[in-house]
């Protein structure tokens, strides 16, 4: 996931919020436009801890303004992307930094990340509803038809809605109301790719690495995940650590290929964050995660796997749930 700017921050809000009605609306709209305008004030920072502390204030400022201008498209997108990025960078990533004994703390962090992802998704869905009435309901029952009317202008909303929704599903597999809508995530991403394949320097392909890493029976494909990896790296000029970590977790762990896992993470760590300042913050955070993943490789790979892989191909599948009745099967799997 690439971290983009939260835009400029806090302005003299008090002055804006105390004027007459028309002036107030105009002023709020002006501030909202400024805040939601794209910029790399956050994304280019070299101090993740500073951004960790500053981001919540920015996000609450967005929400404060949205209370007055609930249909402001720029603010809705900025809120959606902002909550999603914050949840990923400063809440879910913290789970990886914990030790194996911090199960309760990890569960609490995952719960918080889930709520933030859903908050972000809902802002995107509000914006999409304004442009395509009924899309939310349609996505539940006929996902591909629901996104058919989306245009190139919708691609940022399609991408961030899918990113937030997909991330929520991945940590909420015990919640059927989330799991049920995985096809909606695929549909959003499929439409975005069809409309603007190169959006945000390969951000779509980077996310598709993870989406196509799901088991084959759920529509995943290791081959497609690898193809998206290649395309993302090409579009980013090899300057982003994200695709390497995504492939390590999405393909190397389920396949129990520890040499590939380590090779990919070392490649992620070899990237110089200074070479692409617009993506510096994301690279720093991703590299911190990559270091931690290398440290805890024993928790992800058992000694058993190598021996097994020599004997039998892995068929991805969480469908142990299918082991119905009194029979035996010889396949299954999934990811961490």
């Amino acid at each position: 996931m690439r971290l983009k700017g939260y835009g400029l921050l806090v302005v003299p809000l008090a002055a804006v919020l105390t004027g007459g009605c028309a002036i107030k609306r105009l002023a709020i709209s002006s501030v909202a436009n400024t805040l939601s305008a794209s910029g790399d004030t956050f994304a280019s920072d070299d101090d993740p801890e500073l951004i960790r502390d500053a981001a919540p204030f920015a996000l609450k400022t967005y929400e404060l303004l949205l209370a007055s201008t609930p249909k402001h498209p720029g603010l809705l997108l900025a809120s959606c992307s902002g909550f999603t990025q914050y949840a990923y960078a400063f809440v879910q990533t913290d789970v990886d930094l914990l030790g194996p004994d911090d199960v309760e703390k990890a569960a609490a962090l995952r719960g918080r990340a889930l709520r933030l992802y859903l908050r972000g998704r809902d802002y995107c869905m509000r914006a999409l509803e304004l442009r395509h009435r009924g899309i939310g309901t349609q996505l539940m029952v006929a996902p591909d038809a629901a996104v058919a009317s989306a245009t190139a202008a919708d691609v940022p909303l399609l991408y961030w809605a899918a990113a937030a929704w997909g991330a929520a599903i991945s940590i909420g597999l015990d919640r059927p109301e989330l799991v049920a809508d995985f096809p909606a995530v695929r549909a959003l991403m499929g439409r975005a790719l069809a409309l603007d394949e190169g959006y945000a320097h390969g951000a779509l392909h980077e996310l598709m690495i993870t989406i196509d890493s799901v088991p084959e029976a759920m529509g995943g494909s290791v081959e497609r995940a690898r193809a998206h990896f290649e395309r993302a790296v090409a579009l980013q000029g090899g300057l982003s650590a994200g695709p390497y970590v995504a492939l390590a977790l999405g393909v190397a762990v389920p396949g129990q290929d520890r040499p590939e896992f380590e090779r990919l993470l070392h490649l992620a760590l070899a990237i110089d964050p200074e070479r692409d300042r617009s993506n510096r913050l994301a690279n720093l955070i991703t590299q911190r995660r990559a270091r931690r993943l290398l440290e805890k490789a024993d928790e992800l790979f058992s000694a058993a796997a190598d021996a097994r892989l020599r004997r039998e191909p892995v068929l991805s599948f969480p469908a142990w749930a299918f082991a119905a009745s009194a029979h035996r099967t010889t396949q299954f799997p999934e990811e961490q």
């Binding site: 597999l173 058992s302 058993a304 097994r308 469908a319 082991a323 010889t330 990811e335």
Partner: protein, 342 residues
């Protein structure tokens, strides 16, 4: 060195050598097909945290979710003495029956009707099943539950005859089960479970009906292509968390008791959580187009009558006779007691 100090040093050295060394933490590597962040994975992680806490760090559990360690049959092999690459697993019936076919009693179609009935029989059979597994080198920590298998179909199924007309998925590699289905008038099609969603998607696919717990049908989304669910429970997807006796015997008695307590807590949690998961999965699928077909009256009586005739055909051939008889006796006793209390 002064001689007396030298003697003291030697004495201390000898004394230290005679002290029992603090035991290194034992790491138990556990494999499961349950996906990461699923209900079962979270329950295992909580059990592992409790093991660490209750044994003051002497037992460490590492969980490998998502079936990354191979099929259940392979997982069992990796736990065997002399291999020992895994020490524990949360196995479902396919894996457990690799160890002992007695567990297949829980897979007899239409044998159980409710959670209460199932858990009554599990509790009654648990000692004898645990003993059988123990004799094969596996210690049972708890019994698990993957949900109730139900039937999802492309066309509405409302009667036993409808079901017998259906092209019914069954797992490939189990010819006895295929023959059993055929002998009883069904039309089984043996396939890899991986092929279910694709085959249901095709208009003229090899199957038109697949058994699955509701959560499985939801995760794999095949309710979108097979949008009818027959509201009759085929069988529970029972499982168990087992640890090798080789690993178990290395653990102090006092720690084993604590581990059992945590494992039982996990079992109780799953009994409740999986029931909720089944129910909410059905509700969510209904919101997205699933039609649930209730079976009542004469049709229900027909299913129950057929179930009573089908079950004995598995006795001795697919389930050991003594285990079948015990399960039947306990199930009937439960039904009788329940009937008497009404």
């Amino acid at each position: 060195m002064h001689s007396s100090r030298m003697l003291s040093a030697v004495a201390i050295g000898c004394a230290m050598a005679s002290l029992p060394l603090a035991a290194a933490p034992l790491t138990v590597k556990l494999a499961t097909f349950a996906p990461a962040n699923s209900t079962w994975h979270k329950a295992l992680m909580e059990m592992g945290a409790a093991w660490g806490r209750l044994t003051e760090g002497r037992i460490k559990l590492t969980v490998y979710p998502g079936g990354t360690q191979g099929s259940e049959a392979v997982t069992v092999k990796l736990m065997r003495p002399g291999v020992g690459q895994l020490q524990a697993a949360l196995l479902m019936l396919p894996g457990l029956s690799e160890i002992d076919s007695a567990v297949d009693v829980f897979g007899i179609p239409f044998f159980f009707e409710s959670d209460e009935e199932l858990w009554h029989v599990v509790d009654k059979l648990s000692p004898v099943l645990a003993q059988r597994l123990e004799s094969k080198g596996f210690h049972v920590l708890n019994w698990g539950h993957g949900g109730w298998v139900q039937l999802f179909s492309k066309r509405r199924i409302a009667t036993l005859n409808d079901l017998k007309q259906a092209k019914l998925f069954t797992t490939e590699g189990n010819d006895r089960m295929v023959q059993w289905y055929k002998a009883n008038g069904f039309q089984p099609v043996a396939l890899s479970a991986n092929d279910i969603p694709a085959q249901l998607k095709i208009r003229t696919g090899m199957i038109d009906t697949a058994p699955s717990p509701p959560y499985g049908a939801l995760v794999l989304q095949f309710f979108r292509d097979a949008p009818y669910m027959l509201d009759i429970r085929v069988a529970p997807l029972l499982g168990a968390t087992v640890i090798t006796t080789e690993a178990w015997n290395k653990i102090a008695d006092s720690d084993r008791a604590k581990m059992h307590d945590a494992a039982r807590a996990m079992e109780q949690r799953l009994r409740a959580d999986v029931t909720t998961l089944d129910a909410s999965s059905i509700v969510e699928m209904q919101k997205r187009g699933l039609t649930v077909t209730k079976v009542e009256g004469a049709a229900l009586a027909e299913f129950r009558s057929a179930a009573e005739k089908l079950a004995p055909t598995m006795r001795g051939s697919m389930v050991p006779s003594d285990i079948y008889d015990l399960a039947l006796r306990e199930r009937n006793a439960f039904r009788q007691a329940r009937g008497a209390s009404r």
